[in-house]
Amino acid sequence: MIKGLAFLSISFILGMWTGELLGSWLGIHANVGGVGFAMIFLILSKEYFTRRGWWKSELEFGIEFWNKLYIPVVIAMAASLNVKSAISSGTLAIFAGIVPVIIAFAVFYFMMKSFKTT
């Protein structure tokens, strides 16, 4: 279990580091895509380990625990945000949540149509 957690941690640290380096390289004082890089590192290193036959279900358990924890973490985060100030422009959240979905349904429809004909 703890080995899987260490595996996740090293991917996380390396990804964050890459994001930080990319941020300073781009001249933004921010971490750029650190989470995304960490995910890519995790997938690729897991793939490498699986091919070598080093990947054990025991390793996966430690990571799976955190995988399952992400919704609870988001719930906790939602409860500790400054919602009071956001609510004043609350209609934006509703419109910006629904309108793009409707557009995306149309895009999907036309994409599937053109995909079939070609």
Binding site: G15, G36, Y70, P72, A78, A93, M112, F115
Partner: protein
């Protein structure tokens, strides 16, 4: 009683586990028994948490929502950036490299197209509502992608807590909208084959919304939609605070 308060005060994180667990248990029950799983329990829980965050802001008059009240301060730790980013990275373990290769070109195109459509539409909506600075526009546009891309982008760019909260609210509304619209529109838009489900997951992106929506349409399609949708958030976290932000910064 005094002793219990002392224990609660000392063990904030453990109390946060208990609070979130209780809320999830209740909303899952509510989703299953009353809504027939039409809306995922997690989406209801997130919405309720935002409502509690609002109440916390009204009572505590601080910037951290419910976490400003002594009893609930552990929520700020559990929902803080370290746990949040760590847990999100862990979700990548569910994606298999082989399946991604199989989903191939259509999946990749739909992913890129999906992120672009939601980001541009989200930015346009934010612009229509009067936001003009690139950081806020980018955060809300990212929130239109998913409720995780929003705060990750906002955190990286240093957006205000209000804008981050707004981006999460936007993402949660999106999850619910996808969940509700998918079974209604599925037959009209040709969502009936595995490859269509893969493209659908890539375009819509929200894993919980896609999974719940496809489950209500045809349970056999769920894994195909989920395999591309799991990449949406990671890809969004990669391009929104970097490439898309630079483009917005250049325009505004």
């Amino acid at each position: 009683m005094e002793e219990l308060i002392k224990i609660i005060d000392k063990n904030g994180l453990v109390v946060a586990f208990l609070l979130v667990g209780l809320l999830t248990w209740l909303t899952d029950l509510f989703s299953k028994k009353i809504l027939n799983s039409r809306v995922p329990g997690s989406a209801i829980a997130i919405f309720l948490a935002l409502a509690f965050g609002y109440l916390g802001g009204v009572i505590g008059k601080g910037e951290n929502g419910l976490a400003d009240l002594g009893l609930f301060k552990g929520l700020a730790l559990l929902g803080g950036s370290m746990f949040r980013d760590f847990a999100i990275v862990a979700t990548a373990v569910g994606a298999s490299f082989l399946l991604i290769r199989k989903s191939g070109l259509l999946g990749l195109i739909s992913l890129l197209l999906g992120i672009l459509v939601f980001f541009v539409a989200g930015v346009a909506m934010a612009w229509a509502w009067g936001y003009r600075d690139a950081v806020s526009l980018c955060t809300i546009g990212a929130g239109a992608c998913t409720y995780i891309v929003g705060p990750v982008t906002g955190g990286a760019l240093g957006a205000s807590s209000e804008v981050i909260a707004l981006s999460i609210g936007t993402g949660v509304v999106k999850t619910i909208a996808v969940t509700i619209f998918t079974p209604i529109l599925a037959s009209k838009i040709g969502l009936s084959t595995p490859s269509a489900a893969m493209a659908f997951g890539g375009i819509m992106g929200t894993s919980s919304g896609v999974a719940a929506g496809l489950a209500a349409t045809d349970p056999k399609l769920v894994p195909y939609g989920a395999v591309t949708a799991t990449f949406y958030t990671g890809l969004g976290c990669l391009v929104c605070p970097s490439l898309f932000f630079l483009m917005l910064d250049w325009i505004f």
